[in-house]
Amino acid sequence: MSTQPVIPPTQPRPMNFQSKAMRFNTARRSATNYFVGGLAVLATFIVLAPLAAILFYLVYKGASSLNLAFFTHVPAPVGEPGGGMANSIMGSGVILILASLMGIPIGISAGVYLAEFGRGKVLANAVRFTADVLNGVPSIVMGIAIYSLVVMPQKHFSALAGGIVLAIMMVPTVTRTTEEMLSTVPHAIREAALGLGVPKWRTVLSVSLRTASPGIITGCMLAFARVAGETAPLLFTAFGNQFWSFKLNEPIAALPLQIFVYAISPYDEWHRLAWAGSLVLIVMIMVSVTLVRIYASRGVLKGGS
């Protein structure tokens, strides 16, 4: 038994909150607080300003040039008024459909592997990582790779080559979204299907994918919207065309390409068409992104931007 008396803790000297130094310190801290808060608000305004400016100019310059001819006519020769971008809109449609046909099935299958078969495997982690890295590869590099792979041996530009480039660019986004959506499907549902004796492949197709389908469709639309505005990879693959073309192994026009060509041209008439084309492109993309936003939870958009 200890006989030593318990030493009472020394009473701390009470802080004098009214001292001059203390008051100054408090004032400084609160000033910094307001100052930084103000900076954050300012930053937000500075960031939203270009968005407002871009949208304003698009509507201001683009809307005045939009008319029926824009959607029904091919480009007029230099110096002639009128003309439209009908063939570019159609060409973009052809390339994007090709890209979706190739890219979406591969992307979804890879996502299914990641979520249903590869949980926790080293290979799956490697695939996931590669997909994320592939997402960051510049589109122009994809463009010259497909140029070297498809266009060079064929010796001519083609719509097919354009479709392949965009398909490759869609794959990582679709894969990651599919995986994320499938991993939100509760295990109990799969177990119920398997418990009824349904084979695994059938469970994946009819139960897991079916349950996750709204999210997966959202992801596909997101990937679609991303590649719809891509220009750089199409420069050396689809190449562009001033006339109607429906053949897959011939150069084809695309809306972003045509905007680029018109924007760097010296003619006012073409600049006008470039603005109108951009407005159409942006409206198409915004509509799909907004739909995505309405349907999707936040998690979907993470890797996509």
């Binding site: 607080n33 890879a110 590869v137 510049p138 490759i168 972003p256 760097i264 492109l281 942006i282």
Partner: protein, 356 residues
């Protein structure tokens, strides 16, 4: 792995082939009215159709094949770029990246001006975008009233959805005149003595490209930073506040310090995008291969020289030099992105997905 996963694998793996012999007996006991030996139609259907190891394993193999195609794509890109740039790789070796000659007529190619242009524009873009992106992320996660939160994140993500060529169009017709007539002269007058803002100002050049890039990479950095900040547990914030910190001190000590690794990752992802951005830069940078201290000088980046000269490249060596630039860009962006992803993963792993 939780036990439920293992159960699923075991069920799918082994029970199906064994099931049919057992079923008639079970049904015979449970349901004598059906006449003993006849199995229920559902059982019958399931045991006959589409089950079995073959369908399952071939399906799994197909999915695996598609997953591995992602490796194949990366490997293919690397392989084809190496093959096609062989000519220039052999002829110039490492000097390609240290020589500043770019003369297609005499066949001398060096990528130094483009490396300089890429680094300078990306650096300028980061310099402008990072503080702003951090400000937006701090505002959205910590300061902003709840009802404003979703619209502001939506608007910044809208910036990410605008195609590169539209940024370029806006840059050519709005930003370039603005730089030439308003911002440029002001900068020359106030900061001309630094040497960065001297020389003729045509509106196109490094600075304009940097500004466009900054606008383009902002949404990426700010949305990732926001996600990372949201992954910081609230107990950290409460702990710091309980010590008597002001709100800013709470953000600095409790949030920013905890998420700094992730923020570095987000910035590197932005850098990866800036390095490879093509169209908008091509349209406003002036496309001239020179190295100049002035930020008003027209320049060229790795990506923009490919976009600008690829289709008119005559001669195998010219083409192969351009493809080698593409190869360099590919490798650099892969490394930058890989590091960035690892950093972001290190932070957000284990955090609830989409926690708001």
């Amino acid at each position: 792995m939780p036990p439920s996963r293992m159960t699923i694998d075991r069920v799918s793996g082994s029970s199906l082939p064994a099931a049919p012999p057992r079923t008639p007996a079970v049904f015979a006991v449970a349901n004598p009215a059906t006449g003993g030996a006849t199995p229920s139609p559902i059982r019958d259907y399931l045991s006959k159709r589409g089950s079995g190891r073959f369908a399952d394993s071939s399906f799994a193999a197909l999915m695996l094949l598609c997953a591995c195609s992602i490796f194949a794509i990366v490997a293919f890109i690397f392989w084809i770029l190496t093959v096609r740039s062989h000519l220039s790789l052999v002829q110039f070796g490492w000097n390609f990246f240290s020589s500043s000659a770019w003369d297609p007529v005499s066949g001398a190619f060096g990528a130094l001006p483009f490396i300089y242009g890429t680094l300078a524009t990306s650096f300028l873009a980061l310099l402008m975008a990072v503080p702003l992106a951090l400000g937006v992320a701090v505002f959205v996660t910590e300061l902003c009233p709840k009802p404003l939160r979703a619209p502001i994140s939506f608007l910044t993500e809208l910036l990410a959805a605008i195609p590169s060529v539209v940024y370029g169009l806006w840059g050519v017709f709005v930003l370039v005149p603005l730089m030439r007539d308003v911002i440029g002269p002001v900068l020359t007058k106030t900061l001309g003595w630094t040497g960065f803002f001297s020389g003729p100002n045509f509106g196109v050049g490094l600075l304009t490209a940097g500004i466009i890039l900054a606008i383009m990479i902002l949404p990426i950095i700010s949305s990732l930073t926001r996600d990372i900040m949201l992954a910081v547990p609230n107990s950290q914030r409460e702990g710091v506040l309980a010590l008597g910190a002001t709100r800013w001190e709470m953000i600095r000590v409790g949030v920013l310090r905890n998420s700094r690794i992730g923020i570095v990752g987000a910035v590197m992802l932005g850098l990866g995008r800036a390095l490879g951005e093509t169209m908008a830069v091509t349209m406003v940078i002036g496309n001239h291969p020179n190295i100049s201290k002035s930020l008003f000088a027209p320049a060229n980046t790795l990506a923009s020289v490919i976009a600008g000269e690829f289709t008119e490249a005559t001669g195998d060596l010219y083409l192969s030099a351009l493809i080698e630039i593409g190869l360099a860009l590919f490798l650099v962006t892969i490394v930058v992105n890989a590091i960035a992803r690892l950093l972001v993963w290190a932070v957000t792993r284990g955090a609830p997905v989409g926690a708001a």
